[in-house]
């Protein structure tokens, strides 16, 4: 049976966050939390001689930007409570100290899968990150799974 939900949700932007500034301290805290020691991300002087001409955040720093307070109200629910099943992150351009990042989010797709434990519905929310120059720096697809 086809999934029943409001198809007009697909592709409709439901959220644009306020810009969040990127500071060297935020990058340093992220690096410390994952044990990052690569000088491209941790040593401003050494990074000047590197491929980016200065300090940049590790690529996965892009997943640290939070969606808005009402984000989950816009995630379609199916069956029991959903949970975070995974993420797909595309890193388009480096994030640098001094950048100001905005997230724009929409429902990308909804699909059903049947596994050993029964039927599951996946909801994918895409958040696109842009910097203060309106350049896309990353796309983050949040994959939420609901058991039917």
């Amino acid at each position: 049976m086809a999934l029943e939900f409001d198809q007009s949700l697909i592709g409709r932007v439901f959220e644009v966050t306020d810009p969040v500034s990127v500071t060297p301290e935020k990058i340093a805290r992220f690096c410390a939390a994952i044990g990052e020691t690569n000088p491209l991300y941790t040593d401003a002087e050494a990074a000047k001689k590197g491929p980016y001409g200065g300090l940049v955040a590790p690529p996965s720093f892009a997943v640290m930007f939070r969606n808005g307070r009402n984000f989950f109200e816009h995630v379609p629910r199916f069956g029991r409570r959903g949970f975070d099943a995974g993420k797909d992150a595309e890193f388009v351009a480096p994030i640098r100290p001094g950048d100001s990042i905005t997230l724009t989010s929409h429902v990308k797709e909804v699909y059903e899968k049947t596994g050993r434990t029964g039927s599951m519905v996946f909801v994918v929310i895409r958040s696109t990150l842009k910097n203060q120059r309106d350049e896309v720096v990353a796309h983050i697809d949040h994959r939420f799974m609901n058991r039917q």
């Binding site: 491209l40 975070d84 099943a85």
Partner: protein, 138 residues
């Protein structure tokens, strides 16, 4: 510096071990604003039906990404352009995690390689799996 011509399907990365402490897990949760009890204290996690504290999914993604960028090395010459992760089993701190990967696919026209990557626990159970795409400058 790694070049695309050095990459062959079947090349392995790792294994590399990393002990992740509860304090590191808490630090990540607080720095990311995801300081839910399941990420910060055992008692709070058990109230949610978990065996104890778990790592935020974003932390697993960050650790797997770091595993790949460490393989690329600080000289650059390649970039991690995409990573896809699936959270199969909750990852608990205060354990040694094992990171592994192998090259499954390459596209010469784009100078990209796809690498299956995963995190195992001490019992060789795959907790988080993923696919990383690396693009080479040369």
């Amino acid at each position: 510096m790694k070049n695309f011509s050095d990459i062959q399907i079947g090349n392995t990365i790792g294994p590399r071990e990393q002990f992740v402490s509860k304090d590191e897990c808490r630090a990540f949760a607080h720095s990311s604003g995801f300081a839910a009890p399941r990420f910060t204290d055992d008692e709070g996690a058990r109230k949610e039906g978990l065996p104890g504290m778990i790592l935020p999914g974003n932390m697993s993604l960050g650790l797997l990404s770091k595993f790949v960028t460490d393989w690329i090395g600080p000289e650059g010459g390649a970039q991690l352009v995409r990573i896809s992760t699936t959270y199969r089993v909750p990852v608990q701190p205060d354990h040694t995690l094992v990171f592994q990967g192998f090259v499954t696919h390459s596209v010469p026209e784009e100078r990209t390689a796809e690498i299956d990557v995963w995190i195992e626990n001490e019992e060789a159970e795959r907790l988080v799996t993923g696919t990383a795409t690396v693009r080479f400058d040369k």
